[in-house]
Amino acid sequence: MTTLDLQKIGLRKVNKTLQSTTTTAGEKFTVVNPMGGHAIACGLQSDIEVTIDGHAGFYCGGMNKNACITVHGHAGVGLAENMMSGTVRVTGNASQAAGATAHGGLLIIEGDASSRCGISMKGVDIVVGGSVGHMSGFMAQAGNLVICGDAGDALGDSIYEANIYVAGAVETLGSDCEEKPMDSSHVDALTELLNRAGIKVDVQKFKRYGSARTLYNFHPDNAGNY
């Protein structure tokens, strides 16, 4: 296991080490003294395990591919932004736009996520152990957003596709987002996601939300609005 002290060696050296192509599969790294620094463990491409020991700042784990990143603390804005694959886990809370535009992989936030969680998500699976803030799942295109607590205002606004599962209360649904039936395939998928995330919540508590698909095409009745 390699320990990287962010305050001693700086962000560039930390990320250069983690991005190195000479790492071996499963190799372990720990980043200490993150002190809320930005862009920690960004652009990783190898199958390595990275632990961040403390609170991370903005854009932690961005563009991740293959790596398994765990933040023991909270994470700032844009956690796992544009993640392609691998896993990012935060044991605390995440700030705004967690998992934004992410294409793949699994993002687990054990605490709460703030507003715009999963904004424009393109295939990532996101599991939030707590609640999410307003405008979560905004313009979501593909993937699964699992919310074990409550959802804030305008959930799934302008959603294209993607499944949103919520166990708690939804403050309001956004434009073109509606409740959908939960069939056995959804129950199975949700069960598997919760198992992978290691979060225990009764699957029967969840409701599924998705796109009503009324915004896909221009509607001539709306012409007067333009």
């Binding site: 002190m35 809320g36 620094g37 930005h38 403390g54 609170h55 700042g57 903005f58 603390g73 909270h74 700032g76 804005v77 605390g92 809370n93 700030s95 705004q96 703030s114 507003s115 803030g133 307003h134």
Partner: protein, 300 residues
Amino acid sequence: MCGIVGLYLKNEQLRPKLGSLFQPMLSEMKSRGPDSAGVAIYRDPVNGSQTKYSLAHDNVKFDWQKLGTTLASDCQCNASINQIDTHAILIADAQEPHVRTWLKQHHKGVRLVGSGSSVEIFKEVGLPDDVYSRFELEAASGTHMIGHTRMATESAVTTAGSHPFATGADLCLVHNGSLSNHNRLREQLEKAGLEFQTENDTEVAAAYMTHKIREGATLREALEQALIDLDGFYTFCVGTETGFAVLRDPIACKHAVLAETDDWVAMATEYRAIATLPGSDAANIWEPKPQTIYAWGELT
């Protein structure tokens, strides 16, 4: 951009270290605002008959002692004045409106940047670290401070356009964001008799709150009304005599984080500004919700 920070020390034993605890908070936000910086520090409250004024002048060689002596003579009051770089702290036992009128009549180049019983406001153009040391704040003791690092978007980079802006006795405002209806609002407030020194949007927000409070609103009511009347993006931190308050607009895209321990309460645009405080790792840390007032101390 811009960065804002606030720190209230609950633990009295930490209060002699207020300036040194706050310095790295402000410094950490320099990348968000390298143009100018400013702070409000709450310390050394004056007695009931006195008012403390924070004054500023562009000329660092301005004769503040002469101003103090003349004011005492003209207004028949006791006045003491202490220069700190381009600013000076005046303590006088005259009626505040008399002092304000006197300053306006006799010293057009002097800006009154704050007043009250304990608040002192210092702000200047330059890097936050430089501004902080110019005003000898590292060794300062006190109960609480709020601060701002500026990356100007709405108006010129000037000392007068720097934050904090006073909003009443012992009240001042720092702002991260931009208001979109400040020109219209400025016209309305000018008609109501308020005066402006800059074209800055935050000065309008501060004048708006000053106006509401003068009309009889509590600070809480003024902030609630601001949610309706101010259009734009904002995270506000308002310094008060006994603490500070935080408010975000309904969209809440301007960052903010709050943290609390048994010893202190802190707010910042980003957590990294809080990370240097003792015990920050184990603090209760959360993100303030949109259009919700968070306050420590009285909002009267």
